[in-house]
């Protein structure tokens, strides 16, 4: 009897231990704490100056928004409807919190005390080149931090394209509306 009880207890205990080891295997989950490294990070930073394969970002237009050292006045890829949609989606997540959805700079974070950014609809920003807008997203401007860690280069350009669309939308006249849509708009207004 004693043998049976101690035997089953041993099995049970062993089972628990095995189960625990399966639950928590000797591998790191993303961002898991490490006992091995001094700074407790399992996700290791790259050694300074490392260029990961395929990440030699030589294209200054795409990655820095510059052509021959000056801000580019074009977006490095064609702007399609998909690009604009992507830009709208990213803008509403990452930018609208301060710049608000129409770009006047009265987002919720501004209402809670963050420094108010310029409206996109002022003359200076209407005339700025796309490369300049890209640079602000890429490296930040004044109180605005860089968003390079939240938006990849393609998304940054998509946001630039969408900001241009926002700027157009806020200064549009009836003449900008396609003819077949114009009547619909006028009847809706009444």
């Amino acid at each position: 009897m004693i043998c049976l009880v101690s035997g089953s207890l041993l099995l049970f205990g062993n089972g628990c231990e095995l189960r625990k080891r399966m639950y928590d295997q000797p591998k790191y989950e993303p961002l898991e704490q490490s006992d091995f490294f001094g700074d407790a990070r399992s996700a290791r930073a790259l050694v300074e100056g490392t260029v990961p394969r395929g990440h030699l970002n030589e294209d200054m237009h795409l990655y820095e928004g510059k052509i021959n050292g000056a801000f580019a006045d074009t977006v490095p890829f064609p702007i399609t409807k998909e690009v604009l949609k992507r830009g709208q989606n990213r803008y509403n997540i990452y930018c609208a919190v301060c710049h608000d959805r129409a770009g006047y700079g009265n987002g919720m974070i501004v209402q809670r005390g963050f420094k108010r950014p310029s409206s996109y609809h002022i003359d200076r920003l209407r005339k700025e080149k796309p490369g300049y807008l890209y640079d602000v997203i890429n490296r930040g401007f004044g109180s605005m931090p860089s968003y390079s860690h939240q938006l990849n280069p393609e998304d940054r350009w998509a946001v630039v394209a969408y900001i241009r669309a926002l700027q157009l939308s806020q200064s549009a006249t009836l003449e900008d509306v396609p003819k077949q849509e114009r009547e619909k708009l006028l009847t809706e207004k009444q």
Binding site: M22, P30, D39, F114, S143
Partner: protein
């Protein structure tokens, strides 16, 4: 020599066998109940965190999940935001709050904030956020109404049985892709009909690739 056991001992012996059985079964059921209890599953109990971060407050201000959980659409892990993302706003807002002292300290020293995981699956389970997000499973479906949680807790027990509820019948839970991050989405009356259509449209499964295959989650 006198008899050691009286005739009544027979009855006692029989009864004790019966009671022992009942006791064993009750004990096993009890263990199972404990195993399933909210206490052991750690549901509905907020975990202690270095900063009492309120999801409720931040979500209700209109900040999208993806503002902080940046990799949820393209990676297995949703990403625990870096101190840098906190400091996007908190370099200015609440910059003297004692509650945010650990965040500022982390920003100044470069030492990571040590957040405690709320949803930790066993290591023998393969889980990928991006596939769920991209195939129309809402955040709320698994994480519960995070927009109502001042301190976030685990809403679901994370049993395999619970995963399978959806893997067996995804049409019951799937929603249109543009509603995945919507916290207030209510499933329509024709959910099953819409669900079946979406399952087909998003190529959720086919004959060679069923969601209930073992390897889908254990690989």
């Amino acid at each position: 020599m006198a008899q050691v056991f009286r005739p009544s001992a027979n009855t006692i012996a029989k009864a004790s066998i019966f009671f022992l059985m009942v006791l064993t079964i009750a004990g096993l059921c009890g263990l199972d109940l404990i195993h399933r209890s909210p206490y052991v599953r750690y549901t509905h109990r907020p975990k202690e965190q270095p900063v009492p971060f309120s999801h409720k407050h931040h979500v209700n201000m209109g900040i999208d999940c993806r503002y902080c959980h940046t990799t949820v659409e393209e990676s297995a892990s949703a990403n625990i935001p870096s101190t840098r993302i906190c400091m996007n706003c908190h370099s200015t807002i609440w910059k003297d709050s004692p509650m945010l002292e650990p965040v500022r300290e982390s920003w100044q020293t470069g030492k990571s904030l040590e957040w405690n995981r709320v949803h930790d699956l066993p290591d023998f389970v393969y889980f990928n956020h991006s596939i769920h997000i991209n195939k129309g499973i809402g955040c709320v479906t698994c994480h519960g109404p995070v927009d109502e949680m001042p301190l976030v807790h685990r809403e679901k027990p994370l049993f395999m049985k619970w995963c399978l509820e959806c893997h067996k019948a995804p049409e019951k839970f799937i929603r249109p892709q543009e509603e995945v991050f919507n916290m207030d989405y209510k499933e329509p009356k024709n959910q099953l009909e819409l669900g079946r259509k979406l399952v087909k449209e998003y190529h959720v499964q086919n004959e060679n690739n069923r969601l209930t295959d073992c390897w889908i989650c254990h690989r």
